[in-house]
Amino acid sequence: MFSARDEILARIRAVNRASPVPIPRDYERTRTVPDVLGLLDERVTDYKAIVHRVAEAQLPDRIADRLALRSVSTMAVPSDVPPEWRVPAVTWLPDEPPLPLAELDTVDGVLTGCAVAIAETGTIVLDAGAGQGRRMLSLVPDYHLCVVRADQVVTSVPEALARLEPGRPLTFISGPSATSDIELDRVEGVHGPRTLEVLIAT
């Protein structure tokens, strides 16, 4: 008896298929814009996320400001974020050993870095690398504060994919979770973090 695998492959091979087509790649793989950080700011804001531009040296102050403003008291954090990001006056819960899911569900928020950001689409990509942690860390808490460094920002989708490693678990984030399922009215905030705040550090 044929296995399903053999049979499906045999069915495909029995078909008279077209000879391979050359793939035209004359679309724009890179794009240049005058102010890539400005574009990122504008496009992320467009999704109703909160965006701030901040000098690298001011990062800890800005993190402290933002958390104080939201009256945040507990924050989950990947254990390898730069130590100065863990500002005082907040209880930091490093994900090492891994935080139990139930605990992640009760923290006020999570702070992470990112791997790449795409200005044109207002997208931040996490690849579970340095300062980002495992995927559920940036998913379960209701508030996600994300630091993007200027050198992580590219203009277009093709440029971003070229920088990413396909074998890693990747999450592309464009604004807070949202739905348009009710009369196509966009509502921000369903299952993922309902508030996304981005600090663009230059």
């Binding site: 399903a4 499906i8 091979r13 035209p24 899911l101 559920m136 678990p169 739905t179 009369e183 299952h191």
Partner: protein, 478 residues
């Protein structure tokens, strides 16, 4: 084989009859018009932002044609890559086999409930019903799917399955189906109700089931595109993840995603990028599910591949742009198509997957179009839907034996739908439904249509209406 393909719903009336009923539902038409008009305008805006949109479409078309030309090679390559990264690959010839594989996997985990992220492939094979029959509850977690599931309803749109429901109706559905009722019928409160309703299920689920938007043959990476975060929950929290994907969902290389991650969001939700896209390859220790199963589904796809004209339907990336521009869809809604794949893509894909042009319902679907060509213009992978429709109509005619009353009703609709001018005339003269049977008789067609009805004393179509069938079918299912 010999088992019926569940891609079309058993007992659905033929398209003209179902369409006639839907046309009489003014609430449905109002909901649909509002929704499709909104999304059409938004799509045009985000598409216009990209100067290279046409070139991206051409690349998308060529990449998918390359996939179809080398499908065996790429499938084997994908299998190898996924296996190398700790995943397990299964192959399923048809719906029944796929359902059995998934049920066995769920049982092996000892789970009696699974969380699901919206997937056309699992809807196509009737997985939820099969799991239910096997004692496993499938919880839909996408807001629209939840509305459909709690309302014991059928989906009506690929992307927004509850597009036919307005906020007041949704509130009622939630009131009946949730422990805590929504605070109001504001979309924000309805979304909040869904969040609370599903939270515990996400945090405790052992097994999740998903579909896939793309799979990269070279790297074994699977891509799921979504908005609400329910996808991320399903893809990362449970210990076991089962993904069911049609064999045509492949792209050859990682680089190819740069085309589709631009084409898909702008065509579907009319956004520059959807809120969340997840990509994973096999299993990552310490991050996400510990076990990953990939079920590769044929279910009529290899038969579709064999049709030189019809095979282009396999390029489809399920963006639903063609639904939103279709004048027929806008008036009839999705349920009239009697398939999980409604609209122009449904009209060419469902009958091909079902693979039986002797089935009157399937054979009526290629007539669900005025051949106006709007679908072809927006399709991000340039599927020439009118060409395939015409081709399938010829097949339906060839397969047809005696002309039953159903067939004549179908032909009447087809005659008008076949020519944009006749269609417009019928529209102008009043309602499209005039060309279809009402009160047991086919009414005289207005304007040019009169000629057709004059020369034939069109007999009555069977009594049962789409609604009546619908209700009956529901009682049977619940």
């Amino acid at each position: 084989m010999g088992v019926r393909n569940p891609v079309t719903w058993l007992g659905s009336p033929v398209f003209p009859k179902a369409a006639h009923e839907a046309l009489a539902d003014t609430q449905l038409r109002r909901n649909l018009r509002k929704a499709t008009t909104t999304i059409r305008t938004k799509r045009a805006g985000v598409v216009a932002e990209l100067d290279d949109w046409e070139r991206l479409r051409q690349a998308g078309e060529a990449i998918k044609d390359d996939v179809l030309a080398n499908l065996d090679t790429y499938l084997v390559r994908l299998e190898k890559a996924v296996t190398a990264r700790g995943g397990v690959v299964h192959w399923a010839r048809d719906a029944e086999e796929a359902n059995r594989i998934v049920l066995d996997l769920v049982r092996a985990e000892g789970a009696d409930e699974v969380v699901k992220v919206k997937s056309m492939a699992t809807a196509e094979i009737g997985l939820n019903e099969a799991l239910e029959a096997g004692g496993v509850r499938a919880v839909e977690t996408d807001l629209a799917e939840l509305i459909v599931q709690l309302g014991d309803d059928r989906p009506s749109h690929i992307l927004v399955p509850a597009i036919h429901r307005n906020r007041a109706e949704i509130r009622d559905v939630f009131r009946r189906g949730m422990a805590e009722e929504p605070a109001s019928d504001e979309p924000r409160d309805l979304a909040e109700a869904a969040r609370r309703h599903l939270r515990r299920k996400f945090l405790s689920a052992k097994v999740a089931i998903s579909g896939a938007n793309f799979a990269v043959a070279d790297t074994g990476s699977i891509v799921v595109v979504e908005s609400e975060g329910n996808g991320r929950m399903c893809l990362t929290l449970p210990e076991t993840l089962i993904t069911v994907m049609g064999i045509e969902k492949l792209v050859p290389s990682w680089q190819d995603l740069e085309v589709f991650l631009q084409l898909l969001p702008r065509s579907s939700t009319a956004e520059r990028m959807n809120p969340y896209t997840s990509v994973w390859s096999g299993v990552t220790p310490g991050d996400g599910p510990r076990r990953f199963h990939l079920v590769l589904l044929d279910n009529g796809r290899t038969a579709t591949l064999a049709d030189q004209v019809g095979r282009q339907a396999l390029r489809c990336i399920r963006c639903s742009a063609c639904l939103n521009v279709c004048p027929v869809y806008e008036r009839t809604g999705g349920q009239a198509y009697g398939s999980v794949y409604p609209g122009p893509i449904g009209a060419i894909l469902a009958p091909q997957l079902a693979g039986d042009m002797h089935d009157e319902q399937a054979a009526s679907l290629p007539y669900a179009s005025s051949l106006c060509g709007a679908c072809y213009e927006v399709c991000p992978v340039r599927i020439n839907i009118p060409e395939v429709l015409t081709h399938l109509r010829a097949e339906a005619v060839r397969a047809k034996g005696k002309r039953t009353p159903e067939a004549i009703a179908m032909a009447a609709a087809a005659w008008v739908f076949a020519d944009p001018k006749r269609y417009e005339a019928a529209q102008k003269a009043g309602s499209l439904s005039r060309l279809l049977a009402r009160d047991g008789r086919i009414k005289r067609l207005p304007g040019p249509g009169a000629k057709w009805t004059d020369s034939r004393d069109a007999p009555a179509v069977p009594k049962e209406s789409f609604r009546a069938w619908w209700r009956k079918n529901h009682v049977q299912r619940s």
